[in-house]
């Protein structure tokens, strides 16, 4: 029995069909996490190549799509790691230090109080607003310093534990907390500027 028949018996379609059947889904899934078209395409390609190599390991317990998504998740984390380690972005030999703290500093006065009182966002829980949230988040992440945006993505969008991120990036936990705090406040501010008006109008 050749490989193709062997795979078919376990419910796998041919690799050619993977692209047409699951390509869009895998790509969208990767886009949500990577927010970069080229990286997302790379992720899909590497996933399908890995799947091709590993198709004899497909157990048939899960659907083909679930199996591919499982591989894709690993590829996404690999790609983010690689990107974070790019020399232009981070020098991995030196712990990441962040001296530019303008955003956070500008939000508090000398006594540590908010310069502008925080304004309620309401409870934007509807799908339409989720969609808007995602669009604005993507925009706002672009405005953060790249290291902060990457760290935030790893933590919040890829859902990695802080401990693992620290090991991977060779930074201390304290450093990661400081950076995540800055990223979150930067995003909060960006959200207030870009979103608050819309939500208020929509909610009333």
């Amino acid at each position: 029995m050749n490989r193709e028949q062997h795979s078919k018996s376990k419910g796998l379609t041919s690799p050619d069909e993977w692209v047409s059947q699951h390509g869009d889904y895998l790509f969208r899934f990767a886009m949500v996490k990577l927010r970069d078209e080229h990286l997302a395409e790379d992720a899909v390609q590497e996933t399908l190549l890995a799947a091709l190599q590993g198709q004899k390991n497909f157990s048939g317990d899960s659907s083909e799509k679930t199996w591919l998504v499982g591989i894709l998740k690993h590829k996404i984390v690999d790609l983010i790691r690689k990107k974070v380690r790019e020399p232009t972005l981070v020098n991995v030999d030196e712990p990441m230090e962040f001296s530019q703290d303008e955003v956070t500093e500008s939000m508090f006065d000398d006594t540590g109080h908010w310069v502008t009182p925080c304004q309620d966002w309401g409870n934007p829980d509807k799908v339409l607003e989720q969609k808007r949230f995602w669009e604005i988040l993507t925009e706002c992440l672009k405005r953060l310093p790249p290291q902060l945006a990457m760290l935030y993505s790893l933590r919040e969008i890829s859902g990695m534990e802080t401990e693992d991120i620290c090991k991977e990036l060779n930074i201390s936990s304290t450093n990661s907390w400081v950076m995540l705090h800055r990223a979150r406040l930067g995003l909060k501010q960006c959200f207030e500027l870009n979103w608050l008006g819309e939500v208020k109008v929509g909610a009333r």
């Binding site: 925080c118 799908v127 907390w177």
Partner: protein
Amino acid sequence: MLTCKNASQLMSQSLDRRLGIFEKAGLRFHLLICHSCQIAYRQLDFMHQLCKRIAAGSEDITSLQPGLSAEAQERILKELRRKQGEQSASGD
């Protein structure tokens, strides 16, 4: 007494690690008396929760993205076929 700045640091960290009892108590007390920080806490938590939902592969958000471009499909197919060729050539 915590300042709002310190409180915001603890709020953020509470999303990444378990706070100590004194930290927790300090933050709670601050939140009792500071309206702005109550809002800030809700905002940070809101962003965290929504990201979590997106991370879980929420279909709603995922389906909003455009699909794979025709060029990318073509390129990936080509790579797949090349690799398939290699595999059968090596008798793997």
